[in-house]
């Protein structure tokens, strides 16, 4: 009783000052929130124009997690006890103002809703994904190319001011004077300039064609599924190529090129003629992208119902694209129906893959399948490169 323990001898730190349990448990909560956000990323990403968006982060509003207890359902009318100047019949608060009654449920912090805004870096998400799904890091396919670029090569005594190499020039000065303590005075002879030379470059550009079936049978949800998938494909490929372009092609019985923002808004009517889309892709390839200089990828999303008469033509055009492309992939988005690729277009790709081309397909029925599809294509792709 003599030692009240109230004061620590000066200089001693009490145990509870060493760490905060509250902060520790809060961090754990935060981690759980991030985990649950990660699990739902395909949905979250489907909501915004993110494929070419320059912003590098996704902002996700989340609620704090609730630790659930048994509770009674909220009654229409709740009784409480209060204190103050009030007579029976008084209306203390009009309707509309959204507020719970004064009384809190025991042991809980009802309402009082606090929202967190999580900001996730897309790069982090992709890193996480690749690690989590153990996806191979693709090697950029280096093809022969007639593209040239300036590269640094050696030094010269003459050159443009902007290419003056200070460190090297100073070395020359020191060598000449032999006395490091003297005030340095440069002569023209000391100066060294970097030289550039034109050299052939391997192909390190890539272009990704996203082709989407927007015929009447494709629902809004189908398109969102496709978009979510396309997003992660872009992210994955972008890690490997110094420069990458995206091309968006939509088709019904005709085909058009769109910008990204338009692309996912488009909805057409009528039937599906896949060959028009493939022809459009072929056309753009021929116009703008030389397969010798550029790695070409094509990803096609459709519900798979191609019109019967079109199959021969579609097969032919697709084959011609596949010969020039690094990889062609097909996702079948059929929310609700899980037909698992037993469709016209599905067969088309199966034939292509069977004939040894770099091609793959995957059925996408739900957001949960997006990860599977991404994994499927990237593992298939890396195998295609190896062979």
């Amino acid at each position: 009783m003599e030692d009240r323990g109230g004061k620590s001898p000066s200089g001693l730190t009490k145990w509870y000052e060493l760490f905060s349990r509250g902060a520790r448990d809060w961090l754990r909560h935060d981690e759980k929130v991030r985990d649950s956000v990660r699990e739902n990323l395909p949905q979250i990403v489907a909501g915004a124009d993110v494929i070419n968006d320059s912003t590098k982060t996704v902002r996700v509003p989340v609620r704090m997690l609730e630790h659930y207890h048994f509770r009674l359902r909220r009654p229409e009318e709740q009784q409480g006890a209060g204190q103050g100047a009030a007579k029976p019949g008084d209306v203390l608060q009009g309707p509309q103002r959204q507020r719970g009654s004064g009384e809190k449920g025991p042991g809980g912090q009802e309402d009082g809703e606090v929202q967190l805004l999580l900001e996730l870096k897309i790069d982090d998400i992709v890193d996480w994904l690749w690690e989590e799904m153990q996806l191979p890091n693709l090697k950029a396919r280096v093809g022969p190319s007639d593209e040239t670029d300036w590269v640094r090569e050696g030094w010269d005594r003459r050159g443009a001011r902007s290419r003056l190499d200070r460190r090297r020039s100073f070395k020359q000065l020191v060598k000449r004077r032999g006395n490091p303590n003297a005030t340095p005075t440069f002569t023209d002879d000391d100066l060294r300039f970097r030289q550039l030379a034109r050299r052939k470059q391997p192909a390190i550009h890539a272009v990704v064609f996203f082709m989407l079936d927007v015929s009447g049978s494709m629902s809004d949800r189908d398109r969102k599924l496709a978009k979510s998938f396309f997003f992660w494909v872009v992210q994955g490929l972008r890690r490997e190529y110094r420069s990458m372009e995206t091309v968006f092609v939509a088709h019904t019985t005709e085909a058009w090129e769109f910008t990204e923002s338009e692309f996912f808004q488009v909805s057409g009517t009528g039937g599906t003629v896949a060959s028009t889309g493939f022809a459009k892709v072929r056309e753009i390839m021929d116009e703008r992208y030389n397969p010798a200089r550029c790695n070409i990828y094509l990803f096609y999303a459709s519900d798979g119902d191609n019109s019967m008469g079109d199959n021969a033509l579609a097969r032919e055009t697709l084959r011609s694209i596949a010969q020039d492309a690094c990889f062609t992939g097909y996702v079948e988005v059929s929310s609700g129906l899980s037909r698992q690729l037993a469709t016209e277009t599905g067969r088309l790709y199966a034939e292509l893959a069977a004939s040894g081309m770099a091609a793959g397909s995957y059925a996408l029925n739900d957001y949960d399948d997006v990860w599977g599809a991404v994994r499927h294509f990237f593992t298939a792709e890396s195998k295609a490169i190896e062979s």
Partner: protein
């Protein structure tokens, strides 16, 4: 921290003892605000880790930043008791708080509910809880955080579901039904035995296995820890650790109005009688007292909740004024909030305190209801029944191990929140490891069954 206050502590203790307070020694310790906040969140100075405490912690932090709450002290009953005081308290606040803490110490030593629960968990709950925390830390190291968290998710979700009328270390149900009464040695049996003496004594009945549970069991933490078909022993230990802490929390919960009122009455009275306190400190302390027991926020006309400090304080003042200290001490020993409010919140006092009942509709309209004392009593205490939780009991274990829970909606007046209940079942399912189902009622009052998928 002021040395001044230290010198007053003993004198306040002596004064309290002279005034008839009877308490175990209390260790006072001044701690930083941040630590006070943590004690309030965790309920104990050292407690097991769980993410849900992190959520409460952030809410507290927000509250504090908005200036809504300030904690002066937290007391842990025991022998000795532990009291933590915020080191930001001024002298006046500390004097007040010291007297307040002694009021609590008197209460927790003498109140029967406290005595009974303390008899179960011993007077060293603070140390026990620290032990549990260490145990769980070891489990985390051994089995991984994920697995321990799964167990804690379930156990802490059921923390209110205990039965304090049972003992802390509770035995399993008897395995067999009680023996049937021995057959009476009547004339018939005598004659029967005479027919064939060897057959007569083979007439004992086979013992019958008792059903589990023999009656609906509301001590869910114990029941699951004891009868889960496939739980590992360290998991059972975690359930029992949470249950022990709940046994400790129960009397604090069930006597809040009495206990806070008692402590507030005594800090006010001891302060009045402590002539050794400087005048200024006295005035400041009285101001602080009136803030604590204020029923209605300064800028408002009415409050839609009852301040338990104020209600308890006013009730004790009235009781002691009318019936004397002797009677008041008897009430303090024997009652909990249920009896206290029903017996001693009189019409006269309720009017004096301007207490009223109101109904709040889901659209936000709040309307004052007619005067009705009995209804007022019930409204003040209704959220305290059954530790504040719906009455859910374990009813049956099926042959395949399925656990059947049942919600007694007749007691609670309405059915359960289905979404939350489903989540709780999912927690439980992960430790019970067999299907779990729960019966409750829907909005219309017709039966409804929730299942784990």
């Amino acid at each position: 921290m002021s040395e001044d206050w230290q010198s007053y502590v003993r004198r306040i203790e002596e004064l309290a003892a002279r005034s008839g307070l009877d308490f175990h020694p209390v260790d006072f310790e001044a701690v930083p605000d941040s630590f006070m906040m943590e004690i309030a969140v965790y309920g104990l100075p050292v407690r097991m880790p769980h993410w849900s405490f992190g959520v409460r912690y952030i809410y507290q932090l927000i509250q504090r930043h908005m200036g809504n709450s300030r904690l002066f002290e937290v007391v842990f009953p025991g022998n000795p008791g532990h009291a933590y005081l915020a080191d930001s308290n001024g002298l006046a606040e500390n004097v007040l708080v010291t007297a307040h803490v002694l009021g609590h110490a008197d209460f927790s030593k003498n109140n029967l509910l406290f005595q009974r629960c303390q008899g179960q968990v011993s007077e060293h709950i603070v140390e026990h809880a620290a032990n549990h925390a260490r145990q769980i830390q070891q489990a985390i190291e051994q089995y991984g955080r994920e697995r321990v968290e799964i167990v804690l998710d379930a156990a802490l979700a059921l923390e209110q579901h205990i039965d304090v009328d049972q003992t802390l270390r509770r035995q399993r149900y008897p395995e067999y039904l009680p023996d049937p009464k021995p057959l009476v040695d009547d004339d018939f049996r005598k004659r029967f035995a005479a027919l064939d003496p060897s057959a007569a004594f083979n007439f004992t009945e086979v013992k019958k296995k008792a059903p589990v549970p023999p009656h609906p069991e509301r001590d869910l933490l114990w029941f699951i820890a004891t009868y889960a078909p496939d739980m590992e022993s360290w998991e059972r230990d975690i359930f029992l650790a949470v249950r022990e802490e709940s046994f400790y929390f129960y009397p604090v919960f069930a006597t809040q109005i009495m206990n806070e009122g008692w402590a507030s009455y005594w800090h006010a009275r001891l302060l009045r009688e402590a002539d050794f306190i400087p005048q200024q400190a006295y005035v400041d302390a009285i101001k602080c007292h009136s803030d604590v027991v204020r029923p209605i926020a300064a800028d408002q006309q009415v409050a839609l909740s009852i301040n338990p400090y104020h209600l308890g304080f006013s009730m004790w003042e009235k009781i002691i004024e009318k019936e004397g200290l002797e009677t008041a001490r008897k009430i303090m020993q024997q009652d909990d909030d249920f009896g206290f409010v029903r017996n001693y919140l009189t019409r006269e006092l309720a009017d004096e305190l301007h207490m009223f009942r109101y109904s709040a509709r889901s659209d936000g309209q709040v309307k004052v209801l007619e005067n009705d004392l009995t209804a007022l009593h019930e409204t003040v205490i209704h959220h305290k029944y059954n530790f504040g939780a719906p009455s859910v009991s374990a009813q049956h274990i099926r042959v395949d191990g399925t656990l059947e829970l049942v919600h007694d909606h007749t007691v609670d007046g309405r059915g359960l929140d289905l979404e939350r209940s489903r989540r709780v079942l999912e927690y439980v399912h992960k430790v019970w490891r067999r299907p779990v189902i729960l019966q409750t009622v829907d909005q219309q009052g017709s039966g409804l069954e929730i299942k784990t998928s």
